[in-house]
């Protein structure tokens, strides 16, 4: 490791060592096996044909020209689809991320729905054949955007608990001397991990093996079993490494059972690699949201009223509500609060996780409005946050287990050089470039899920950690190895971690930034059990062989079962069935029954440069400071926070899935047209990790960092754009034409 390597920050208080990822060499030599790389028994290739309309019916579908090709094994349509059993939506006790089950009838519910699946000996033949299928549609005009005629706007009672309220909002607003109000929007976005979605299914003696990138292998195994009508013990999901996920590989999609069903019928392994454009409609995504935000304060900046009404795009058939008020109301002051969420039901696929699914779209409008309020008060935006920094929830007085927001602001501001900012918009220039500085808060709740893990210690001083967890690039293998090594008192190199296999001890979905905290806690509990077998002190190098000899074994293993505080033991049973205990979760943003709030915080600073004439926008540098409890590995943590900040910048300036309003179809469904940050967009990112100790959150004192970095960045960019130009762009992404308008 070279000296002064910024990728490996020296650990500060309460941080582990910045060791390299355990799979590093395999990753740079191309030897790491991802799902679609798994050497198969020359699988048949499946290629989907997807609908060219967003709503209507298939009148007729003529597969004969496709079937006429040599090498085509079968063409499945709704007339002859492989047999599957429907499973309910994940939030209703089932396993489907989208319950619209393709090839069950002629109806089309959204753009790019699967209408046929060609199975052929080779990929080239399958693709060619799919293009020869002739489909006649009866197309109906879809309602596809929030403002389209024909959408249904719902306000479900079930969400009442998420609609936070405090005091008399109307009266507080009316009486307040300083007010701001705005309508903000965030666009549809797609996760677009570089690894494509894929499924490889093979059957042997009634047992199904699936290679598929999945952030929840236990769910995928149970879900596939339910849809195939077999016992879950007969399904084996293998997926040790993922090429990025970002939420897109969360819950099971309808593709898995289609491919597995074909493999069963044809008695041959079948592989499907979803094309990039098909991936836009054959998985969940981040749907668009709209927000009406009102903030009011006294002349010193103390918040008096906070009102927030939102509209979230949904499919017709499933609800994936965000209702992020638990997060926004945990940020500031003690205002009167009124919030409301509306679900907009339209002819679209079901939305789902995408990095900071709740926090990104809800913190963007709040943090923009805070900047507008600071401007209206003629106050420094950092000082506005300081005046409103809190120790307890304005909703119910719940305390925070820890909260280092202002330390993050102070460290980031000093490093960024905020004091050089002239607050007057448009006042800072260099040549033809207008310079803007902006900042915003990042906040991410510390969620936890039940988890189990087995740790086995050998007489030779090596150890094994086994858990059905996942690594899509976060560094989970490395972090869990470090957690185990620390507890066992051995070198991390001596710990082997096995994950990504549904037959290992059950672990929760790799989502909500909870993997290290939850699985790590299970690892710690397993080691606590091991320790008790050795009279409460693990043997060290000198007495290890003697200790094992006394026990008469060469290795010894124990299962750790982590039950998040406030949950009941039933959740472990649900975990083993691959279900999320939605009604009984340990959420950091929920404080009922006297539970404290648990959050990681950060402060993000951005410099933008905007060309005086063309309004081209560049971001030469970003600085973020984050406090998230114990940092297990500063190297992988920094990479995650940095990646998150770049995501936020990309989200602010580039990313939007554009929809043809009339036809309800995505128009930029490729990596060439769906813009996301490239290397040239990202000159400099400084990540500061602020030491923080929070022994209360979980046995490890770890908060999640995988999503924290993205949360405030988009608002920081928007605020910097305002500082540079005096223009407030409330609809993301911020592009040149909006600045020229």
């Amino acid at each position: 490791m070279s000296v002064g390597n910024t990728a490996a920050p020296a650990p500060l208080a309460n941080m582990g060592e910045p060791i390299r990822r355990s799979e590093s060499v395999a990753k740079v030599t191309g030897r790491l096996v991802y799902a679609a790389d798994a050497p198969g028994q020359s699988p048949l290739q499946a290629y989907f044909l997807t609908s060219a309309i967003a709503r209507g019916r298939v009148l007729s579908i003529d597969a004969a020209p496709a079937e006429a090709l040599d090498g085509v094994v079968k063409v499945y349509t709704h007339l002859n689809a492989p047999r599957r059993i429907a499973t309910p939506y994940t939030q209703k006790g089932g396993y489907a991320s989208d319950t619209n089950m393709p090839l069950t009838g002629p109806e089309i519910h959204h753009d790019g729905q699967i209408i046929a699946m060609v199975i052929a000996e080779t990929y080239e033949i399958a693709r060619d054949a799919s293009h020869r299928i002739v489909t006649r549609y009866d197309a109906t005009t879809p309602a596809a955007t929030i403002d389209s005629p024909g959408v249904d706007i719902l306000h479900p009672d079930a969400l009442a608990e998420k609609e936070k309220k405090a005091g008399d909002f109307a009266a507080a607003l009316a009486a307040a001397p300083v007010k701001v109000e705005g309508v903000y929007s965030t666009p549809a976005q797609h996760q677009n991990a570089i690894e494509l979605y894929s499924t490889t299914a093979s059957w042997s003696a009634g047992e199904l093996t699936i290679h598929e990138p999945s952030q929840f292998v236990v769910e995928l195994a149970n879900g596939a079993a339910a849809m195939m009508g077999i016992d879950p013990s007969k399904v084996h999901v293998v997926n040790p490494y993922m090429g990025g996920a970002f939420g897109g590989k969360g819950f099971m999609t309808q593709r898995t059972a289609l491919v597995a069903g074909a493999a069963r019928e044809l008695a041959r392994p079948v592989r499907n690699v979803v094309t990039r454009d098909q991936g836009f409609t054959l998985a969940t995504y981040r749907s668009e949201t709209k927000h009406h935000v009102r903030l009011a304060a006294d002349h010193d900046g103390r918040l008096l009223a906070y009102g927030h009404e939102s509209w979230e795009m949904q499919s017709r058939h499933d609800d994936y509500p965000l209702a992020g008020f638990g997060v926004t109301t945990a940020m500031y002051g003690k205002p009167a609060i009124l919030t409301r969420v509306n679900l907009v039901k339209a002819d679209r696929q079901t939305s789902g996780f995408m990095r900071a699914p709740v926090e990104m779209p809800y913190m963007y409008p709040l943090e923009s409005a805070m900047d507008e309020l600071a401007f209206a008060l003629d106050m420094d935006p950092i000082e506005l946050r300081r005046v409103n920094d809190i120790r307890e929830s304005p909703i119910d007085g719940a305390r925070f287990t820890s909260r280092s927001l202002m330390r993050c602001y102070d460290e980031a501001a000093a490093s960024f050089g905020w004091s050089k900012r002239d607050p007057t918009p448009g006042s800072m220039r260099e040549g033809d470039w207008l310079i803007g500085y902006g900042c915003a808060t990042a906040g991410y709740p510390t969620h936890m899920a039940p988890a189990t893990a087995r740790v086995t210690l050998s007489a030779d001083g090596s150890a094994r950690v086994e858990v059905a967890g996942h690594d899509s690039g976060q560094g989970t293998y490395t972090a869990l190895g470090q957690v185990a090594a620390r507890e066992l008192g051995i070198d991390p190199e001596r710990v082997h971690v096995a994950m990504g296999d549904s037959r290992l001890p059950a672990a929760p979905a790799s989502s909500n930034s909870l993997a290290t905290a939850s699985i790590g806690s299970a690892v710690k509990l397993a080691i606590d059990k091991l320790r008790s077998r050795f009279g409460n002190a693990l043997p060290d190098d000198r007495d290890r062989s003697a200790a094992f000899a006394r026990l008469g074994v060469s290795e010894i293993g124990d299962l750790g079962e982590f039950l998040p505080p406030g949950t009941n033991p039933e959740v472990l049973g649900m975990l083993r069935k691959g279900q999320v205990p939605f009604a009984n979760q340990a959420r950091g943003d929920e404080s009922k029954n006297g539970k404290p709030l648990m959050f990681a915080f950060g402060a993000e600073f951005v410099e933008v440069r905007i060309h005086r004439l063309t309004r081209e926008i560049r971001v030469p540098r970003m600085t973020g400071a984050f406090a998230a409890g114990r940092i297990v590995n500063p190297r992988t943590a920094r990479s995650q926070l940095m990646g998150g900040m770049i995501w936020g910048m990309s989200s602010a300036l580039l990313e939007a899935t554009e929809i043809d309003e009339k036809r309800g179809r995505y128009v930029n469904d490729s990596l060439g047209e769906y813009l996301m940050a490239v290397n040239a967009d990202v000159p400099r990112v400084d990540v500061i990790m602020v030491p923080e100790e929070d022994p209360e959150v979980n046995p490890l004192g770890v908060k999640g960092i995988g999503e924290l970095g993205i949360v405030g960045t988009a608002a920081a960019v928007a605020n910097a754009v305002h500082h540079a130009t005096g223009k407030r762009i409330r609809d993301l992404p911020i592009v040149m034409d909006k600045l020229l308008a």
């Binding site: 030599t29 209507g56 090709l69 080239e124 293009h131 197309a139 990025g244 920094r638 490729s670």
Partner: protein, 198 residues
């Protein structure tokens, strides 16, 4: 309500006919191209030279080099991130220059020397660029990494690694959704010095 019949080949073919005729100033009404009526794939027996080894294979003439490497030769280090030349995950070297394997037909590179990420290390000793990617944590998930490393080596050889700005520009054809970009620049800087000394 409106009825429409669509197959993608007709759309593509019709589009081409329309474009051609528009340039002549007249669009034929109801142009519909004739269907490709062949039902048996065209194959060819070729020899591919990859990482210094010759492989005799039979390929569908439509097969991309990326699919041939992955499915015929089992060299799965090169990744498919788009299959459309838009992400760089499939970057390989042909005669030492960087190319996108997903945009290269296998039959077009017969007799040329192909290098993939699997061909960089000598035994257990890594190429300086591979080592630099590890040292600087220039990846998270690793899915773009083979392509990044192949591009990075070419970038240095092309003389496009002179400054951070150049590196960023000439590495921008390789998307990294994990956004390891600043670390990639640091890695290229480290390896550049060693490659130049080397």
């Amino acid at each position: 309500m409106n009825e429409c019949a669509v197959d993608r080949r007709t759309v593509i073919a019709t589009g081409a006919v329309l474009a051609a005729s528009l340039s002549l100033g007249s669009a034929p009404a109801g142009a519909r191209a004739s269907m490709d009526t062949r039902t048996t794939p065209l194959t060819r027996d070729i020899t591919l030279s990859v990482n210094g080894t010759d492989h005799a294979i039979r390929v569908d003439t439509r097969m991309t080099l990326l699919d041939a490497l992955r499915d015929k030769l089992g060299l799965t280090g090169s990744k498919k991130g788009c299959d459309q030349g838009q992400c760089g995950a499939c970057t390989i070297h042909v005669e030492g220059e960087r190319h996108l394997a997903c945009l290269t037909l296998t039959v077009a590179v017969e007799g040329l020397h192909i290098t993939t990420v699997e061909g960089l290390a000598e035994g257990e000793s890594l190429h300086p660029m591979q080592q630099a990617f590890i040292d600087h944590d220039a990846f998270q998930c690793g899915y773009c990494t083979s392509g990044q490393i192949m591009s990075a080596i070419a970038c240095v050889r092309e003389g496009h690694a002179g400054s951070d700005e150049d590196i960023r520009e000439y590495m921008s054809g390789n998307l990294c959704r994990c956004a390891a970009y600043p670390n990639i620049v640091a890695a290229v800087n480290q390896a550049k010095n060693e490659m130049e000394r080397g």
